[in-house]
Amino acid sequence: MITQELAGLRNQIAALFADVLKIEVPSHDTNLLATGLLDSLGFVELLLQLERRFGIHVEMESLEPEDFRSIESIAAFIEAQRQAVG
Protein backbone atom coordinates (compact mmCIF):
# COMPACT_ATOMS: atom_id res chain seq x y z
CA MET A 1 0.00 0.00 0.00
CA ILE A 2 1.39 3.38 -0.91
CA THR A 3 1.48 6.25 1.52
CA GLN A 4 -0.59 9.37 1.02
CA GLU A 5 2.63 11.32 0.58
CA LEU A 6 3.82 9.04 -2.23
CA ALA A 7 0.43 9.22 -3.93
CA GLY A 8 0.58 13.00 -3.74
CA LEU A 9 4.07 12.96 -5.18
CA ARG A 10 2.93 10.84 -8.11
CA ASN A 11 0.11 13.28 -8.81
CA GLN A 12 2.52 16.22 -8.70
CA ILE A 13 4.82 14.49 -11.18
CA ALA A 14 1.89 13.62 -13.45
CA ALA A 15 0.90 17.30 -13.38
CA LEU A 16 4.48 18.29 -14.23
CA PHE A 17 4.37 16.03 -17.26
CA ALA A 18 1.03 17.38 -18.43
CA ASP A 19 1.49 21.08 -17.70
CA VAL A 20 5.20 21.71 -18.16
CA LEU A 21 6.52 18.97 -20.41
CA LYS A 22 3.25 18.80 -22.38
CA ILE A 23 3.31 15.02 -22.27
CA GLU A 24 0.12 13.13 -21.58
CA VAL A 25 1.04 10.01 -19.65
CA PRO A 26 -1.76 7.40 -19.72
CA SER A 27 -1.06 6.02 -16.25
CA HIS A 28 1.42 6.22 -13.39
CA ASP A 29 3.01 2.90 -14.39
CA THR A 30 3.38 3.69 -18.11
CA ASN A 31 6.94 3.05 -19.23
CA LEU A 32 8.07 6.52 -20.30
CA LEU A 33 11.29 5.39 -21.95
CA ALA A 34 10.21 2.22 -23.73
CA THR A 35 7.11 3.88 -25.16
CA GLY A 36 9.10 6.87 -26.38
CA LEU A 37 6.88 9.31 -24.48
CA LEU A 38 10.01 10.81 -22.96
CA ASP A 39 12.75 11.76 -25.43
CA SER A 40 16.12 13.38 -24.79
CA LEU A 41 14.80 16.93 -24.68
CA GLY A 42 11.94 15.98 -22.39
CA PHE A 43 14.27 14.00 -20.17
CA VAL A 44 16.71 16.83 -19.58
CA GLU A 45 13.83 19.23 -18.95
CA LEU A 46 12.40 16.67 -16.52
CA LEU A 47 15.70 16.55 -14.59
CA LEU A 48 15.77 20.35 -14.39
CA GLN A 49 12.20 20.47 -13.16
CA LEU A 50 12.74 17.72 -10.59
CA GLU A 51 15.76 19.56 -9.23
CA ARG A 52 13.89 22.84 -9.16
CA ARG A 53 10.58 21.61 -7.72
CA PHE A 54 11.65 18.81 -5.43
CA GLY A 55 15.09 20.00 -4.38
CA ILE A 56 16.88 16.85 -5.45
CA HIS A 57 20.12 16.53 -7.37
CA VAL A 58 20.65 13.90 -10.04
CA GLU A 59 24.25 12.83 -10.56
CA MET A 60 24.68 12.03 -14.25
CA GLU A 61 27.47 9.54 -13.47
CA SER A 62 25.19 7.42 -11.34
CA LEU A 63 21.98 8.04 -13.24
CA GLU A 64 19.85 4.92 -13.14
CA PRO A 65 17.44 4.59 -16.09
CA GLU A 66 15.11 2.46 -13.97
CA ASP A 67 14.50 5.48 -11.71
CA PHE A 68 12.89 7.28 -14.66
CA ARG A 69 10.94 4.38 -16.13
CA SER A 70 7.54 5.63 -14.96
CA ILE A 71 5.86 8.24 -12.82
CA GLU A 72 5.77 5.64 -10.04
CA SER A 73 9.51 5.06 -10.20
CA ILE A 74 10.28 8.79 -10.40
CA ALA A 75 8.20 9.34 -7.26
CA ALA A 76 10.01 6.50 -5.49
CA PHE A 77 13.35 7.97 -6.58
CA ILE A 78 12.47 11.40 -5.20
CA GLU A 79 11.26 9.86 -1.98
CA ALA A 80 14.51 7.89 -1.64
CA GLN A 81 16.61 10.99 -2.36
CA ARG A 82 14.73 12.98 0.24
CA GLN A 83 15.14 10.25 2.84
CA ALA A 84 18.85 9.96 2.04
CA VAL A 85 19.29 13.69 2.63
CA GLY A 86 17.01 14.14 5.53
Binding site: K22, I23, E24, L33, T35, G36, L37, D39, S40, L41, G42, F43, V44, M60, E61, S62, L63, E64, P65, F68
Partner: protein, 328 residues
Protein backbone atom coordinates in the same frame (compact mmCIF):
# COMPACT_ATOMS: atom_id res chain seq x y z
CA UNK B 1 2.22 28.96 -64.82
CA UNK B 2 3.84 30.66 -61.87
CA UNK B 3 7.59 31.07 -61.97
CA UNK B 4 8.73 29.67 -58.63
CA UNK B 5 11.77 31.91 -58.54
CA UNK B 6 10.28 35.23 -59.48
CA UNK B 7 6.59 34.59 -58.84
CA UNK B 8 4.43 36.40 -56.30
CA UNK B 9 6.51 37.29 -53.29
CA UNK B 10 5.15 36.36 -49.92
CA UNK B 11 5.92 39.73 -48.30
CA UNK B 12 2.29 40.47 -49.03
CA UNK B 13 1.24 37.40 -47.11
CA UNK B 14 0.74 37.81 -43.42
CA UNK B 15 0.72 34.07 -43.09
CA UNK B 16 3.21 31.61 -44.54
CA UNK B 17 2.20 28.17 -45.71
CA UNK B 18 4.64 25.78 -44.04
CA UNK B 19 5.25 22.08 -44.53
CA UNK B 20 6.96 20.67 -41.45
CA UNK B 21 8.94 17.43 -41.37
CA UNK B 22 9.50 16.82 -37.71
CA UNK B 23 10.19 14.30 -34.98
CA UNK B 24 10.64 14.30 -31.23
CA UNK B 25 10.08 17.10 -28.75
CA UNK B 26 12.21 19.46 -30.88
CA UNK B 27 9.75 19.03 -33.74
CA UNK B 28 6.85 19.65 -31.39
CA UNK B 29 8.48 22.85 -30.16
CA UNK B 30 8.84 24.13 -33.72
CA UNK B 31 5.24 23.20 -34.53
CA UNK B 32 4.04 25.08 -31.46
CA UNK B 33 6.14 28.10 -32.48
CA UNK B 34 4.67 28.11 -36.00
CA UNK B 35 1.13 27.80 -34.69
CA UNK B 36 1.65 30.59 -32.17
CA UNK B 37 2.74 32.88 -34.99
CA UNK B 38 -0.45 32.16 -36.88
CA UNK B 39 1.12 30.62 -39.97
CA UNK B 40 -0.66 27.92 -41.92
CA UNK B 41 0.69 24.44 -41.31
CA UNK B 42 0.02 22.74 -44.62
CA UNK B 43 0.87 19.42 -42.99
CA UNK B 44 3.10 17.92 -40.37
CA UNK B 45 5.05 14.95 -41.68
CA UNK B 46 6.12 12.64 -38.90
CA UNK B 47 6.74 8.94 -38.49
CA UNK B 48 4.02 8.69 -35.86
CA UNK B 49 1.38 9.57 -38.45
CA UNK B 50 1.55 6.06 -39.87
CA UNK B 51 1.72 4.43 -36.44
CA UNK B 52 -1.23 5.67 -34.43
CA UNK B 53 -0.50 3.29 -31.55
CA UNK B 54 3.05 4.54 -30.96
CA UNK B 55 3.74 7.70 -28.94
CA UNK B 56 4.55 10.74 -31.05
CA UNK B 57 4.69 14.20 -29.49
CA UNK B 58 4.61 15.81 -32.94
CA UNK B 59 1.54 13.87 -34.13
CA UNK B 60 -0.27 14.42 -30.82
CA UNK B 61 0.34 18.17 -30.92
CA UNK B 62 -0.61 18.35 -34.62
CA UNK B 63 -3.91 16.65 -33.83
CA UNK B 64 -4.57 19.00 -30.91
CA UNK B 65 -3.87 21.98 -33.17
CA UNK B 66 -5.99 20.56 -35.98
CA UNK B 67 -3.07 20.34 -38.41
CA UNK B 68 -3.09 17.69 -41.15
CA UNK B 69 -0.65 14.90 -40.34
CA UNK B 70 1.07 12.98 -43.14
CA UNK B 71 3.30 9.92 -42.87
CA UNK B 72 6.95 10.99 -43.02
CA UNK B 73 7.77 8.34 -45.62
CA UNK B 74 5.56 10.10 -48.19
CA UNK B 75 8.44 12.50 -48.75
CA UNK B 76 10.24 9.75 -50.71
CA UNK B 77 7.28 8.85 -52.90
CA UNK B 78 7.32 9.60 -56.59
CA UNK B 79 5.19 12.63 -57.34
CA UNK B 80 5.31 14.04 -53.83
CA UNK B 81 6.94 17.22 -55.13
CA UNK B 82 3.80 17.87 -57.18
CA UNK B 83 1.75 17.55 -54.04
CA UNK B 84 3.95 20.16 -52.36
CA UNK B 85 3.55 22.50 -55.33
CA UNK B 86 -0.19 21.94 -55.42
CA UNK B 87 -0.35 22.82 -51.73
CA UNK B 88 1.33 26.15 -52.49
CA UNK B 89 3.97 25.67 -49.81
CA UNK B 90 6.15 28.67 -49.00
CA UNK B 91 8.62 27.00 -46.68
CA UNK B 92 9.60 23.43 -45.95
CA UNK B 93 11.21 22.90 -42.55
CA UNK B 94 13.03 19.78 -41.45
CA UNK B 95 13.52 19.26 -37.73
CA UNK B 96 15.03 15.92 -36.77
CA UNK B 97 13.24 14.04 -39.54
CA UNK B 98 14.66 10.63 -40.28
CA UNK B 99 14.21 10.87 -44.05
CA UNK B 100 16.39 12.40 -46.73
CA UNK B 101 14.33 14.82 -48.76
CA UNK B 102 14.64 14.26 -52.53
CA UNK B 103 15.88 17.17 -54.62
CA UNK B 104 12.58 17.60 -56.46
CA UNK B 105 10.80 18.11 -53.14
CA UNK B 106 13.43 20.55 -51.90
CA UNK B 107 12.72 22.79 -54.87
CA UNK B 108 8.95 22.57 -54.66
CA UNK B 109 8.45 25.28 -52.04
CA UNK B 110 8.59 28.98 -52.93
CA UNK B 111 11.18 30.08 -50.40
CA UNK B 112 13.11 26.87 -50.13
CA UNK B 113 13.65 24.05 -47.69
CA UNK B 114 15.63 24.41 -44.48
CA UNK B 115 17.13 21.95 -42.04
CA UNK B 116 18.14 22.25 -38.40
CA UNK B 117 21.50 20.47 -38.23
CA UNK B 118 22.92 19.67 -34.76
CA UNK B 119 26.46 20.67 -35.58
CA UNK B 120 28.61 23.43 -36.99
CA UNK B 121 28.80 23.46 -40.79
CA UNK B 122 30.79 22.92 -42.88
CA UNK B 123 32.98 21.15 -40.29
CA UNK B 124 30.52 18.57 -38.99
CA UNK B 125 28.28 17.50 -41.86
CA UNK B 126 26.61 14.11 -41.91
CA UNK B 127 25.59 11.72 -39.17
CA UNK B 128 25.98 12.05 -35.42
CA UNK B 129 27.78 15.41 -35.38
CA UNK B 130 27.32 15.71 -31.61
CA UNK B 131 29.06 12.40 -30.98
CA UNK B 132 31.86 13.20 -33.39
CA UNK B 133 32.45 16.59 -31.79
CA UNK B 134 32.72 15.05 -28.33
CA UNK B 135 34.91 12.24 -29.60
CA UNK B 136 37.27 14.79 -31.10
CA UNK B 137 37.41 16.74 -27.85
CA UNK B 138 35.75 19.91 -29.08
CA UNK B 139 35.03 22.52 -26.43
CA UNK B 140 32.50 24.42 -28.50
CA UNK B 141 29.70 23.22 -30.74
CA UNK B 142 26.95 24.79 -32.82
CA UNK B 143 23.58 24.25 -34.38
CA UNK B 144 23.10 25.35 -37.97
CA UNK B 145 20.02 26.27 -39.97
CA UNK B 146 20.86 25.75 -43.62
CA UNK B 147 19.04 25.63 -46.88
CA UNK B 148 18.76 22.05 -48.05
CA UNK B 149 20.27 21.05 -51.36
CA UNK B 150 20.55 17.55 -52.81
CA UNK B 151 24.02 17.10 -51.28
CA UNK B 152 23.59 16.37 -47.56
CA UNK B 153 24.27 19.33 -45.23
CA UNK B 154 25.96 21.29 -48.02
CA UNK B 155 23.48 24.11 -48.62
CA UNK B 156 23.95 27.80 -47.79
CA UNK B 157 23.85 28.68 -44.11
CA UNK B 158 21.06 30.92 -42.89
CA UNK B 159 21.80 31.00 -39.18
CA UNK B 160 24.20 29.37 -36.76
CA UNK B 161 24.47 29.56 -32.98
CA UNK B 162 27.44 28.24 -31.06
CA UNK B 163 27.76 27.28 -27.42
CA UNK B 164 30.33 25.80 -25.07
CA UNK B 165 30.76 22.12 -24.40
CA UNK B 166 31.45 21.67 -20.70
CA UNK B 167 33.57 18.84 -19.37
CA UNK B 168 30.48 17.34 -17.73
CA UNK B 169 28.51 17.40 -20.96
CA UNK B 170 27.52 14.13 -22.60
CA UNK B 171 26.11 13.48 -26.04
CA UNK B 172 22.66 13.72 -24.47
CA UNK B 173 23.18 17.16 -22.95
CA UNK B 174 24.94 18.57 -26.02
CA UNK B 175 22.06 17.33 -28.19
CA UNK B 176 19.66 19.15 -25.94
CA UNK B 177 21.76 22.32 -26.15
CA UNK B 178 21.48 22.06 -29.94
CA UNK B 179 17.70 22.02 -29.73
CA UNK B 180 17.61 24.83 -27.19
CA UNK B 181 19.77 26.99 -29.45
CA UNK B 182 18.23 25.78 -32.70
CA UNK B 183 14.52 26.33 -32.17
CA UNK B 184 14.93 30.12 -31.72
CA UNK B 185 16.93 30.16 -34.97
CA UNK B 186 14.08 28.40 -36.77
CA UNK B 187 11.74 31.05 -35.32
CA UNK B 188 14.04 33.74 -36.68
CA UNK B 189 13.99 32.07 -40.08
CA UNK B 190 10.20 31.92 -40.10
CA UNK B 191 9.90 35.56 -39.01
CA UNK B 192 12.30 36.71 -41.70
CA UNK B 193 10.59 34.57 -44.33
CA UNK B 194 7.25 36.12 -43.40
CA UNK B 195 8.40 39.71 -43.52
CA UNK B 196 11.33 39.97 -45.90
CA UNK B 197 12.42 36.65 -47.40
CA UNK B 198 15.19 38.33 -49.39
CA UNK B 199 16.86 39.03 -46.04
CA UNK B 200 17.29 35.35 -45.18
CA UNK B 201 21.06 34.93 -45.10
CA UNK B 202 22.53 32.47 -47.58
CA UNK B 203 26.18 32.07 -46.71
CA UNK B 204 27.88 29.62 -49.04
CA UNK B 205 29.76 26.90 -47.19
CA UNK B 206 33.51 26.85 -47.54
CA UNK B 207 34.00 23.43 -49.05
CA UNK B 208 37.67 23.31 -48.10
CA UNK B 209 36.57 23.14 -44.44
CA UNK B 210 33.89 20.52 -45.00
CA UNK B 211 34.07 17.22 -43.15
CA UNK B 212 31.40 14.62 -43.74
CA UNK B 213 30.81 11.86 -41.22
CA UNK B 214 29.04 8.66 -42.16
CA UNK B 215 27.68 5.68 -40.28
CA UNK B 216 31.03 4.35 -39.05
CA UNK B 217 31.84 4.33 -35.35
CA UNK B 218 35.38 5.55 -34.57
CA UNK B 219 38.01 3.00 -33.53
CA UNK B 220 35.61 0.27 -34.56
CA UNK B 221 33.85 0.93 -31.26
CA UNK B 222 36.89 -0.24 -29.27
CA UNK B 223 38.35 1.58 -26.27
CA UNK B 224 42.08 2.10 -26.64
CA UNK B 225 43.48 2.26 -23.12
CA UNK B 226 47.02 3.21 -24.19
CA UNK B 227 45.60 6.57 -25.27
CA UNK B 228 45.49 9.67 -23.03
CA UNK B 229 42.68 9.65 -20.47
CA UNK B 230 41.15 12.62 -22.24
CA UNK B 231 40.58 10.54 -25.39
CA UNK B 232 39.16 7.56 -23.50
CA UNK B 233 36.72 9.71 -21.56
CA UNK B 234 35.75 11.71 -24.65
CA UNK B 235 34.79 8.50 -26.44
CA UNK B 236 32.52 7.46 -23.58
CA UNK B 237 30.94 10.94 -23.46
CA UNK B 238 30.40 10.78 -27.22
CA UNK B 239 28.35 7.62 -26.75
CA UNK B 240 26.53 8.69 -23.60
CA UNK B 241 22.84 9.20 -24.30
CA UNK B 242 21.78 7.39 -21.13
CA UNK B 243 18.94 6.57 -20.56
CA UNK B 244 18.42 6.57 -24.34
CA UNK B 245 19.97 4.39 -27.01
CA UNK B 246 23.31 5.56 -28.33
CA UNK B 247 23.64 5.48 -32.14
CA UNK B 248 27.23 4.30 -31.62
CA UNK B 249 26.51 1.89 -28.81
CA UNK B 250 29.16 2.19 -26.07
CA UNK B 251 32.91 1.73 -26.48
CA UNK B 252 33.96 -1.76 -25.54
CA UNK B 253 36.93 -3.53 -24.08
CA UNK B 254 37.57 -7.10 -22.94
CA UNK B 255 38.42 -8.31 -19.47
CA UNK B 256 39.15 -11.99 -18.91
CA UNK B 257 37.59 -12.78 -22.27
CA UNK B 258 34.38 -10.96 -21.38
CA UNK B 259 33.15 -7.90 -23.27
CA UNK B 260 32.59 -4.85 -21.11
CA UNK B 261 31.17 -1.63 -22.56
CA UNK B 262 32.09 1.54 -20.68
CA UNK B 263 29.05 3.79 -20.36
CA UNK B 264 30.15 6.48 -17.90
CA UNK B 265 33.72 7.53 -17.19
CA UNK B 266 35.39 10.67 -15.88
CA UNK B 267 38.94 11.91 -15.59
CA UNK B 268 40.72 11.98 -12.26
CA UNK B 269 43.69 14.21 -13.08
CA UNK B 270 45.84 11.71 -11.17
CA UNK B 271 48.88 10.54 -13.08
CA UNK B 272 49.50 6.83 -13.27
CA UNK B 273 52.35 4.54 -14.28
CA UNK B 274 50.35 1.32 -14.33
CA UNK B 275 49.98 -0.57 -17.61
CA UNK B 276 47.12 0.89 -19.67
CA UNK B 277 43.91 -1.03 -19.04
CA UNK B 278 44.89 -2.07 -15.50
CA UNK B 279 41.97 -2.01 -13.05
CA UNK B 280 42.98 -0.43 -9.76
CA UNK B 281 40.99 0.37 -6.66
CA UNK B 282 37.26 0.72 -6.12
CA UNK B 283 35.93 4.22 -5.44
CA UNK B 284 32.28 3.98 -4.39
CA UNK B 285 30.58 2.17 -7.24
CA UNK B 286 33.35 3.13 -9.66
CA UNK B 287 36.77 1.64 -10.39
CA UNK B 288 39.96 3.32 -11.49
CA UNK B 289 41.44 2.14 -14.77
CA UNK B 290 44.84 3.15 -16.14
CA UNK B 291 45.25 5.08 -19.37
CA UNK B 292 48.47 6.27 -20.97
CA UNK B 293 48.81 9.27 -18.70
CA UNK B 294 46.31 9.18 -15.85
CA UNK B 295 43.67 7.11 -14.12
CA UNK B 296 40.09 7.37 -15.26
CA UNK B 297 37.12 6.60 -13.06
CA UNK B 298 34.83 4.11 -14.76
CA UNK B 299 31.43 4.57 -13.17
CA UNK B 300 28.96 2.48 -15.14
CA UNK B 301 29.44 -0.41 -17.53
CA UNK B 302 27.21 -2.53 -19.69
CA UNK B 303 27.86 -6.22 -19.40
CA UNK B 304 25.59 -9.08 -20.49
CA UNK B 305 23.06 -6.43 -21.50
CA UNK B 306 22.85 -4.98 -17.99
CA UNK B 307 23.84 -1.45 -16.97
CA UNK B 308 25.65 -1.83 -13.65
CA UNK B 309 28.06 0.01 -11.39
CA UNK B 310 31.57 -0.79 -12.57
CA UNK B 311 32.59 -2.19 -9.19
CA UNK B 312 29.95 -4.91 -9.61
CA UNK B 313 31.84 -6.46 -12.51
CA UNK B 314 35.42 -5.13 -12.47
CA UNK B 315 37.86 -6.12 -9.71
CA UNK B 316 41.18 -4.56 -8.70
CA UNK B 317 44.01 -6.41 -10.38
CA UNK B 318 42.07 -7.21 -13.52
CA UNK B 319 43.40 -6.02 -16.86
CA UNK B 320 41.55 -4.82 -19.94
CA UNK B 321 42.99 -6.64 -22.93
CA UNK B 322 44.96 -4.35 -25.19
CA UNK B 323 46.09 -6.65 -27.97
CA UNK B 324 42.87 -6.42 -29.97
CA UNK B 325 42.54 -2.83 -31.03
CA UNK B 326 43.99 -1.80 -27.73
CA UNK B 327 47.34 -0.60 -28.98
CA UNK B 328 48.07 2.48 -31.01
Amino acid sequence: MIDRTTGPRPESRARLRILLLAEEAAGAQVLRMIAERGHVVVAVMTSGAARPDSPSPVRDLAERLGCPCWPAEWVRERGFSERVRAADVDLLLNVHSLYLVPGAVLNASRLGSYNMHPGPLPEYAGRNPVSWALFRGETTHAVTIHRMVPEVDAGPIAYQASFDIEERDSALTVSVKCVQAGVPLIARLVDTAATNPAAIPAIAQNRSRRSYYGRDVPQGGQLIWPRPARDVVNFTRACDYVPFRSPWGHPVGRVDGRQVAVVKATRTGVRCAAPPGAVSDVVGGAVRVACADEWVLVHRVLTDGQLVYASRTLRPGQQFETENGGRE
